[in-house]
Amino acid sequence: MRKRHTTKDRLITVALHIALVAGLFFAAFPIYWMLSSSFKSNTEIFALPPTILPKAFTLEAYAAILGDPVKLRFFFNSYFVAFAVTVLTVLIALLAAYGFSRFNFRGKGSLNTLIISTQTIPPITLLIPFFGLVVSYRIFDTYTALILTYLVFTLPYAILLMTGYLNTLPRDLDEAVAVDGGTSWTALWRVIVPISLPGIVATSVYTFLLCWNEFLFALTLTKSASMRTVPIGIQLLMGQHAFEWNQMMAMSVLGSLPLLLIYLIAQRFFLAGMTAGSVK
């Protein structure tokens, strides 16, 4: 039976839509503002009243960034560190998660609790100890310092994420490999990894994002311009005497693009169904 819509129902629907549009505006406007400002001149950005659309559309901010080797280096650094950390995190987390998911060993429960508990420590409290360690090991202002530090933050969550994913995969598959003549290693690489792509991609995206956006440790553990990453690079555009807002916005746009691309590429892996047809 079709339900009759009352006036009250309609009012609720209208109110809901107004609230949603307001929410959308609130979420999307900063992104729009970043985009539009990146195509304005710095003078126009400071104009009052502010212009919603660029009056004089210009690519000068992008040219300034893409033409400056120092700024391009920020991008390279961000890519290199984020990529290295992602690869290492996924590799280590996968092996650790396979262990947690498939084997029983002494101290498994305690180790699991320890990993979870690391998530409760605010990263900023570790800044000074990390700084001390990095200096002691003479790796200050190096990729190694950033990569090792980031690994400490990405690994626990990645292990938990991957363990959760592997736990959803039927153990019969590992046993089928064992009966077919393979070892646990064979099962992991030939069967578990190929069907864990959604889990691996989710972990990779999470790790990449965390590294790409990281500011505090990158600021503290690096010093030279050649080691700075994009978030620090954006901050460096705020000089003592000048604020290059259009360049900051252009750099933010360029910095966001890889993430957008990663999301678009990874999207299809988030869909369920990798194990369809395996069991039952």
């Binding site: 019969d172 046993e175 089928a176 064992a178 009966v179 003549g181 369809a276 047809g277 395996s278 039952k280």
Partner: protein, 381 residues
């Protein structure tokens, strides 16, 4: 091909739970042995121990004369079909079947030849490039079989491979697996909780309960001569009716009626005489109970019964009855509780039977088909 011998096999878990207790079983070369029992009886554990997927707590396990207790699954020369099929979802049918050969380092040409042979036998040729997700339940089951067959193992281990199929397909696959096993002649151990599969597929059937082997015999002998009330109740569908009675002379006194026993009954079971004047458990299968109004039932003695409900299956009527007797539990935890407050017995009548629900009838029983068990031990007399 090889014989599989289990000697005093035990499996105890950390919490001191005995999943398998002193299991002795000898499966001959080429034999099709069914391991059957209710849920939690240890049948899958036993199979997994043979496969090497579960550690053996104690005892000896030999496949083809080789002690395999400490061997990993890959060295046992066995192939297994899992209840869930466990097909590799990212591989095609062809890759699934050939996977073990690939791991063994067999050349591509040899793999292809063998896969083609298997696919032909299992009618999978047109599906070789499909992924498991695109197959029906029956096709997946065949791929799982193919994966086991490809290696020409010493023994096949099958863990309830038909339980995920619908009833019709199950009947078809039952016949296919049986004929395939005969054709290949490979020693096969097949786990099921479905006693119809047990009765129709195997050369011999091993009945387990609570981790203890109850009886190993041919389906016919299990049906005709169960060693105890559990086996009697477990084998056969619907289950055997078990009641308590007192043996008075040549009569079984049951509540308000008595069943006369012929001399032959005592001749076949000399031990029965020692129960004179004592309680005894007797059993009768639903197919040995008749509608006294029909020709088939006229020659037998009758007892009073009340019809509580009828399931008309077309080829037969399953008639639920209430008789004035104390029912005995066979000890099968999975037994269907079709005995409500009103009914305590089941009979299979011919479809021409005109009995109606709620009517008082005379129930004919073939007293030569009675089974007797000790009321304490439940062992057959």
């Amino acid at each position: 091909m090889a014989e599989v011998i289990l000697e005093n096999i035990c499996k105890t878990y950390g919490n001191n739970f005995h999943a398998i207790d002193q299991l002795n079983l000898s499966v001959e070369d080429g034999e099709f042995l069914i391991l059957v029992g209710p849920s939690g009886c240890g049948k899958s554990t036993a199979l997994r121990m043979i496969a090497g997927l579960e550690d053996v707590t104690s005892g000896s396990l030999r496949i083809g004369g080789v002690d395999v207790v400490d061997m990993p699954p890959k060295d046992r020369d066995i192939a297994m079909v899992f209840q869930s099929y466990a097909l590799y979802p990212h591989m095609t049918v062809s890759e699934n079947i050939a996977f073990s050969m690939r791991l063994a380092g067999k050349p591509k040409a040899e793999r292809k030849k063998r896969v083609d042979e298997i696919a032909k036998t299992l009618q999978l040729t047109s599906l070789l490039d499909s992924k498991p997700a695109n197959l029906s339940g029956g096709q997946r089951q065949r791929v799982a079989m193919g994966r086991a067959m490809v290696r020409e193992p010493a023994a096949f281990l099958m863990d309830e491979p038909l339980s995920n199929l619908d009833a019709k397909l199950r009947v078809q696959m039952r016949a296919e697996i049986t004929s395939l096993q005969k054709q290949l002649g490979v020693t096969t151990i097949y786990v099921t909780h479905d006693q119809t599969e047990a009765m129709t597929m195997g050369d011999r059937v091993a009945v387990l309960k609570g981790g203890v082997l109850q009886q190993v015999d041919t389906p016919k002998r299990l049906y005709e001569s169960p060693v105890n009330a559990f086996v009697a109740g477990f084998i056969g569908s619907p289950s055997m009716n078990l009641f308590e009675a007192t043996l008075m002379g040549d009569e079984l006194t049951v509540g308000a009626f008595a069943i006369r026993l012929q001399n032959a009954a005592f001749g076949r079971r000399p031990g029965l005489k020692s129960y004179a004047g004592r309680k005894v458990v007797f059993g009768i299968r639903p197919e040995d109970l008749y509608d006294s109004n029909l020709e088939s039932g006229r020659k037998y003695q009758t007892i009073p019964a009340k019809v509580t409900s009828i399931e008309e299956l077309g080829s037969e009527h399953i008639v639920h009855l209430s008789i004035d007797a104390a029912r005995v539990d066979s000890g099968d935890p999975d037994a269907v509780q079709d005995f409500g407050m009103a009914s305590n017995a089941v009979a299979k009548f011919e479809p021409v039977s005109a009995v109606r629900s709620g009517s008082e009838i005379r129930l004919a029983l073939d007293d030569t088909k009675l089974h007797f068990f000790d009321p304490e031990t439940h062992l057959a007399i």
